[in-house]
Symmetry: D2
Subunit: 360 residues, 4 copies
């Protein structure tokens, strides 16, 4: 009820702050018999981890996951999967100076308002570190989804004013991991990286957009009313730090369209199955997957910590000036690509299992 769990049947519960001994979580409801490919899981965590390139935070975390339960001879047993990820690089001193200050657009003030006090060392649960547990859980979800033939590919489609104009159909998504910013267009990627570097030099930060495509979801996943498939995906990605918006299929552009433009005619596909001539629906109709690609965009605001002098107040409402310290990302989207994928995987794994109880 305090919101540290996600999913109904495939359920991740997480704990941990950046400054403690470890963060971690429990995955409950993973079916028995799944080969838990620890190399794959670690590779997912490595895509998120700090210090991986010059355009991300230089904090050093090895982000190694230790699995404590639920595995026998490499396979899940049906028991809950407990895991911990050690915090290697705690520098609580970075935060001591800020303990009485409400940093602009951080959660310091809201935590005090909610809980009556706060653990000022590292942002508590609002720290980006918390997302490592999401990626670990999402990696297990991805392994489960592989059995259903589902693949998830996110990429950076915008950094500040530099925007990828092509839709995912026109891109080679295999190129996403070939550059630091995770944009599948090499030229645009170059410009994005340059912008991020300039932004960092200016002591500032910049926002961006991540796009995501899911292939292989069969028709029939999702629930028709409150737990529409896109509503659950939307909630999951909106729960990632710094996310400000979510749209799927035609998204906000649909507001300007007419029904005669927007409707996706059903057609018989060459293989005899049913598909749609266009996919404005984004693979989901009435909250339920229709077998077409699911695609959506996620907007991220610029990181709140900047290396510039800012005005704000302290806990006594006295005006102060402050300056960001520590090692932070000038732009969150390159490292958020695996997080968006993880959250999507968690939702889809859950609906994959939920769908099993639909029919007699």
């Amino acid at each position: 009820m305090a919101g540290n769990s996600i999913g109904q049947l495939f359920r991740l519960t997480t704990f941990g702050e950046s400054h403690g001994e470890a963060i971690g979580g429990i995955i409950d409801g993973c079916p028995a018999g799944l080969f838990l490919d620890e190399n794959f899981i670690q590779s997912e965590l490595d895509r998120r981890k700090p210090g991986q390139s010059k355009i991300v935070t230089q904090r050093k975390e090895s982000d190694n996951v230790r699995w404590l339960s639920g595995i026998f001879e490499g396979k899940t047993t049906g028991a809950p999967l407990g895991f911990v990820i050690g915090n290697d690089d705690q520098k609580p001193k970075d935060y001591e100076a800020l303990k009485n200050i409400y940093r602009p657009s951080h959660a310091d003030y809201t935590y005090d308002a909610k809980y009556g006090f706060r653990d000022y060392r590292g942002g508590g649960r609002s720290s980006a570190r918390e997302t490592a547990a999401r990626v670990a859980g999402g990696a297990v979800a991805k392994l489960l989804l592989q059995h259903a033939g589902v693949s998830i590919s996110a990429y950076v489609s915008r950094v500040g004013n530099i925007e990828l104009q092509h839709s995912y159909h026109e891109l080679n998504l295999k190129l996403t991991e070939t550059n630091l910013v995770r944009c599948p267009d090499a030229a645009i990627a170059e410009a994005m990286i340059r912008l991020i570097e300039e932004t960092r030099k200016a002591g500032d930060s910049v926002g961006g957009v991540i796009s995501c495509v899911v292939k292989g979801v069969p028709a029939g996943w999702g629930e028709p009313v409150f737990d529409k498939l896109h509503a659950d995906i939307g909630k999951a990605v909106l729960s990632i730090n710094a996310v400000k918006g979510f749209e799927f299929g035609t998204g906000f552009a649909a507001a300007a369209m007419s029904g005669s433009q927007h409707n996706d005619a059903f057609v018989r596909l060459p293989d005899g199955t049913i598909g749609t001539a266009t996919n404005h629906s984004g693979g989901i109709q009435g909250g339920i997957s229709n077998g077409a690609d699911i695609y959506f965009n996620v907007a991220f605001k610029p990181v709140a910590t900047i290396m510039r002098r800012q005005k704000t107040i302290d806990v006594n409402a006295i005006p102060v000036e402050m300056m960001g310290r520590g090692r932070h990302d000038p732009c969150v989207v390159p490292r958020a690509v695996p997080i968006v994928e993880a959250m999507t995987a968690l939702v889809l794994a859950d609906h994959y299992l939920r769908h099993r109880t639909t029919r007699l």
Copy 2:
């Protein structure tokens, strides 16, 4: 688990299809002692009901709510509130002709794919009729929120290409209900109404955007990780039929901004309390309300039913041509205003109660 409930502590569960005897629901978890103002509740339903003006569907439904339990001498007792809303105007014949056809961008195909068959009379749970139960539940949530000093105001900010350029600060939201389209700017409203009428005459439909502002939420509501306040609001409004996107605060525009532009400096307000100089955060920081106004936009696609000849296939994947029948909205946003408010109210009522268990 089949997704017909929303909320953890303040929980609405709904049932019903448009063609049956009645739809309805159960509100569980409403605190005891709330005066259940049935006039207010009915007035909310009247804002949603069909036939209310020339720009909406001419279906006739009185949408009277009958409360069956949980009330004693006008006040809630703490017992669940059961309610039914009769279906007056069932015309199943309208649908008989379509029983074997997969209408473009409807849920016919996905229902068949999910359940193995479908009740073709009126769209089943994907019918807009289902939203009447949401509005009834949301009206009770609004009554509860009044005790916490919270008010919710949604309005139409876009229809097709006609867009309200002013932010909510510059508008008089009391004017929203003074015109058919529920846009607080009279001139823009006029243009929107004209566009909707032209669209209907052309046998087409058109999308739109609803904006929503919530005032009076104190700092501290919402949970910091998966159940961030905006994530729960996002899911709730994304679960409304035809919604394609959600953004709060600066939303997608944040992607193009720098941190130095976007950060909201904390300030001491004239009354001695803490506030922010700007509100790019949209009243939520780290998933928790900060006391400022919460505001967001919701994108709606054009209604799928249009009065034009369209190509599609039947259940045997044979190409057919079809034409919309029945009485449908050419644009869903005017009637969706109270629905957006209702879903927002349900989420906030839930977090209001959840917040009560936060501290020792």
Copy 3:
């Protein structure tokens, strides 16, 4: 969260008090394609209804269930099943005299303590009327379980000091419905009926025990830790009004046994499958069904309403004398037999669906 729902995947939510227009509920999560045999469902309700014989309350309720949604051409569609049961025989005047009195061993005082006030007309949610919705939900669960080959048979094994000495193996459970008290041994049944009649004439009430046997549950249902199959059954039957105890398999007698007596050796059954030589485990080991019969006992206290002068206090803590009024059961167990079966069915239907997600 206010506890008006039961089940995770097969979920019943109920509403209603005895004095209102109707009670009812919503069944969410029933798989699509189940033939909803309304005659069977009604026959289950008839087993519970008041006025069915001389040894139960003479209140008159027809207890007809009206199904409002989720059914198409006789089969469940996967949508929620909404239902209402009208209250025919409301006599609120019976209660007017008691509005300020805390009846001994009723919930009057605890409701006031919990909610701050109470609806004194008919006991609110603590009325036995609430169980009609349980039986309706349980009847649908039974229909689902028939597909899995599961049958549930409860019977009265004790009324006051008259106790059935035989275990269920030695009884013909088809005789349960052949007498008013629902005890499968005709001679014992006769004695029980006599005791109940004498008790009523004496203006008193008497307790009893219901035993229940479930056949056909395959090995593998139930969860190993908190949601052990017997723990969920135990909770479900303990939630029935007047229940004071639950034991399964050897139950309390196990406390006096040694392991060498109690252990159930596994054996190869004649058909080549695996079974146990004895069944002290009551069909459940480690919280999971083992394929043997599941059996358990449920203890009921005597009904609190008696037709005798009793001392108690009023809402101002002033001593008063009161006398039961209205039409009440002198012994609850005959009518509780279908309720015990219904609660058991709800739990098993839920675990039947939950089990579907156990393996890859």
Copy 4:
């Protein structure tokens, strides 16, 4: 959904098997500001741990809890409390010989039936080791309940045929911890210890009963329908390994009583508050606490592992003889006393928080 969590608002999720690196859990929903007295928590674990006396298993586990999150300067922050308890004394070789055998009255067979295979090293989730995490969670719940003035005292009231005849009123519960068997009557305790020692020498095991008394719960906790306070307590204790029965208040004895004997007359207490003259109700009426002591009994079967030759079958249904190995408790009840208290505390802490949302 796989049943590794308990509680709605105060929620414990656990993981771990006896043979792995560690077991552990996450407590979510503990209010912020609670002083987490680690000494007290450890003392609770020490009451459960193996090797504490001559009448329990001689396995050596230090059972030290390591808290990984959610604490700042000794107090809970409102963030989830993650914890691990290392497994010191793994002897997987003890189990190797049994990997293909279905031990009588163990969960070996049901695990295979459910999951398709099993981790045979130490019983998996059915190991008694799992209860250490329950005690850790329950200890935090107890700390929370102390703020509400609630105390929980369990004790052994029966071992085999040796039964404590006195009710809890006549006992000095402070003596419970003064002897190895945790029975507050020294003479009876002596006899129980002797019986357990004889049983062990005979290579056998023996069942027992634990009684529990809760003082200080104010009137008003619990929910009136499915989540009755005693139903939730019943489920929680029935989920403990080896439990076969639960009864509260008069329990099974109520079946033989008349209403005129059983009813608890309300009286004005000397301090002006409302109480009852007797407490057959066991402190709960209509599912809601009435302010009187809550008391109940829990029946435990004899431990399945005995040091005697037993017949059973192997995984291929071939008859085999086997003999218990390893270090096991001849009687589970002395060590189960803190577990019963822990499960009770978890339920009460949850309802304490749930009750906060009952009224406007």
